[in-house]
Amino acid sequence: MAAPTLSVEQQIQQLDDARKLVLGDVTYYQPIIQGILPIIGPSARVELRRWGAEFLAETFAAPRVPAQQKETLSLIVLETLKVMIENPQEDPAVVKSIVQTAASVYPLVFRWIINNSYDGPTWERMLAIKSRIFRIWDSAASGVRICCIKFAQRVVLVQTAGPDADPRRGDPMEVSLNMVPQNHPLLAPRNLEAEASGLLDRMLGVFQESTRYSDAILIDATLNTLSILIRARPHIANRILNVILNFNPLKQANSPMTPKLRVMVKSMEKTTRLLLMHINKRYADYVLPDPSNADKYSDPQNPLAGRIQQYVERMMRSRNEIFDEASRKRGPPEPTDGLDAAKRQKLAAPVPSATPRFHVPPLKPGPCTVAELFTVTTDEGLKAFDVSVLTQDLVVKIGITILQKLDADTLNQAVEGVRQRYKSLAAAQPEELDPATAPLGVDEDDDDYEPDYFNAEDTEQILNKLDNAPPPEEPKIKVPDVALQHFTLPPPPPLTPDQAVQIGQGTVTRVFGVMQTLEEPAKKIKSGMNRLAASAYDRDAWITIITRLATRASAGLEEPATPVKIESNGADSSSLSNTIRESLYLYVIEDFRKRIDIAVAWLCEEWYNDKVQMKLGEDAVLHYEKWVLKVLDGIVPYLDARDKVLTRFLSEIPGLSLDVLTRVKGLCRDPAMVNLALTSLLYLVMMRPPVREIALDAVEDIWSTYEDAKPIAAKYLTKWRPGFAERLKSKDDEEEEKKGNGIAA
């Protein structure tokens, strides 16, 4: 069993340790992923492959890993994923994790391909994985099949148009068809959309097939993936909802009920109902009332809210008859009856309103809320709709449109109705209650009790409470409160430093997201001296903003950790500025050939800021030197012998130190890079007189250290260092002499 080096248990133990490391610090993901890929390959033992597949699924799901980093990582693992999923002998648990990983990776790769259309091989790999998943979708074990469904859902989400094409709004990582340019060489929006449409049909097929009861898990898995599609892709929402509304989860309840079947039927019914209630509650844009017909929905966008409500009620009744009356043998009432779309529409069709009379039902006796006072609709679904989830300007827009269209007579009737209610309330005004001293209202069920705390709950909890309890019964609201009273929002809870840093990081990540999506300007417009930095909202402007945010925002606020003024590598690196720097660094390194100008712009800002800080105080924390070296170290291993990047970088950064030149000298260890290093130094010698001497020193060092570099270095030195030719000559003579002596002796 034991491998020559380590047993499987020991290896897993080591892998677990590595995992703990990345769970604690996401910056280690890249080296660790690269390290484990060979260990978990197809020839590895099944325990290791399972571990690896699970780890990959976890990595790409991890909310703490920035999307940029995941994108880079996804390119590294794609080949491994493809090999693993294409192996027909692969263990099902491994396949399950790989399909999960693929679902997380798909939007990342899609986004990468949108921005990097040259990368055909990567897209080929992704397509191979995709088609493999769709092939095993129907034949694999259920555990794998549900993950195939989830993968299909991700693909549909990515390959349909989102409602908002503006990348600055909404989730920065939201990927949709809107982002694909029409003339993209690899991605044809039309085909992608057609594929998504077909996939959606295939997903929804599970509701239409004569459902065998073993499909309960597939049905649940599908239902629970649909909410985001319905909410984020309004144009396919009706199609999905129509299929669900024609699905009868209780259909099998008439066959003899085994314990297993009971569990499954109950599960499908409850899951369907919860999804529909969730949609009716949350999907607010969906339910816009037409005021002239207050209890009907004539909004063409959604004729379904009423149907959903009726479906939910019918389901609950049928379920109670089947399960709660314990009469298992009785067949279910036919709930599909009346679900037929044609019949339903007849029922819901607005009665030709010969009576324009607008009826405002009187209030129920007893205390009521302000909301109840002004609610004139009788529709329960509409009452539950929380207008506060809409944006303010949307509400204003709707309000204006409604007022323009509204028949004055109807409005008057409604106002009159509410006035009557108000009068009847005022007549029956309850005794004064002081909210501060009144006993907390508690009903019998201890759990249902929600105390009325003033400022005690945070906004989130209050919203949550409101969502959960329509219509709220708050006996403490007195009628006089109906009149406008001074109201101040409770102050928001103060942010902890951690939260503040986290939110700051979120903002920074979004700015980077925007930068990536913005096209590079085709032609640089010279804006002259008088321009204002960062006023054009293009990519350069964002870069200016982000670099200044990194360098200036908290400059001078940092405490120098030690008398040594250079920023230390240690603990204080968690500050926001350093997080931005870290992100900038990663952004530059990700594609340094294209982004070297950003690196230079950023380092110029750092240099300037360091100078300013030094002028202001003795103990300023300096950043420039550290980050120059870091960027250089990041670039150097990837340099190509013909890269001009290094020369450009060295000549444009504002300050050069011996450390930087040492890095350049180090390049000469590789004979292929000698030329590049020396040319870069020569350029410095020629074009930057202040550093000429140290650059020449560096060349001389190279000359004396690296054999391969001697001829060229000697050439440069002869030209630029006075007296070098003579020294060289005398040295040569000496050697000749030595040699001669040696031979002689």
Binding site: R19, K20, L23, G24, V46, R50, A57, E58, A61, A62, P63, R64, P88, Q89, E90, D91, P92, Q100, S104, I136, A140, A141, S142, G143, C147, K150, R154, S214, I217, D220, A221, N224, S227, I228, R231, P259, K260, L261, R262, V263, K266, S267, K270, T271, L274, L275, M277, H278, L440, V442, D446, P451, Y453, A456, E457, E460, Q461, N464, K465, N468
Partner: protein
């Protein structure tokens, strides 16, 4: 396929409080949920942790509510901000006789040995590492911040959990079984419910371990039996469990993190 689980002690309710020896092997990761993350979810949290399962627990209420001197004066605390220990000390200072008699101090005393304080489901972000919870009972194995099975103790909590998962839009693409086991909110029922939940966890884990031990003959080939994997068997396992525990009605669904 026949799956007979001998759990006589659990059914009789005689023993089963014992600490179990850890035999290693595959372990499902669990999460228990009730309204206040104090009584039912904590009883089963401890129960599962004692059986060496990785486990975390939450409450779905808006606030932590504990009984007070009368039904109109409950003790109310914030989730994630108040420790069990501080609740214990506060109530002990208020009226030690009352809170000892109604079992609250006993409960809080147990809870503070399990973890720091009540956590709210809706504030939990699945997938965020929980390394800082390493002293909690049952924390070993849930460092990654995700679980395989969520067990709620009341249908309202199940609804809240499933609705919350729908709301989050399943960004992690990870399946999770959400099972409700209806338990009345008092100390006696919590004890019985805890035993029931442990029995359920054992049954589920046994099936999951079996599925993993099966010699992988490849998922393309292979007969139906070898393909009957864990996820598919869950409704059957719950059905059988329900026969053993008819007083703890169960609901199940397959949801997504």
């Amino acid at each position: 396929m026949a799956q007979v689980l001998a759990q006589p002690e659990a059914v009789n309710g005689a023993v089963s409080n014992g600490l179990r020896e850890d035999h290693g092997g595959f372990k499902l990761k669990f999460c228990t949920v009730c309204a206040s993350n104090n009584n039912r979810s904590m009883e089963s949290h401890l129960r599962l942790a004692e059986a060496n399962y990785p486990v975390i627990s939450f409450g779905t209420g808006s606030l932590v509510r504990l009984p007070g001197p009368s039904i109109t004066q409950p003790n109310v605390y914030h989730f994630n901000k108040t420790s069990y220990d501080s609740m214990y000390r506060e109530l002990e200072g208020k009226d030690p006789r009352l809170y000892r008699a109604n079992g609250i101090l006993n409960m809080l005393g147990r809870n503070r040995d399990v973890k720091w304080g009540p956590e709210r489901w809706q504030d939990w972000q699945p997938g965020v590492p929980r390394l800082e919870h390493n002293t909690d009972r049952g924390s070993e194995g849930v460092e990654g911040g995700v679980v395989d099975v969520v067990i709620t103790c009341e249908e309202r909590c199940w609804d809240a959990v499933v609705d919350d998962l729908l709301n989050r839009g399943s960004p992690l693409n990870r399946p999770v079984h959400v099972i409700n086991v209806d338990i009345k909110d008092n100390h006696e029922e919590a004890l019985i419910g805890g035993r029931g939940i442990l029995d359920l966890a054992d049954s589920l884990n046994k099936a999951a371990a079996e599925a993993r031990d099966m010699n992988p003959s490849g998922f393309d080939s292979g007969n139906a039996a070898s393909r009957a994997n864990f996820d598919e068997r869950v409704p059957e396992i719950i059905g059988e469990w329900q026969e053993r525990w008819p007083n703890l009605p169960a609901v199940w669904t397959l949801a997504w993190f």
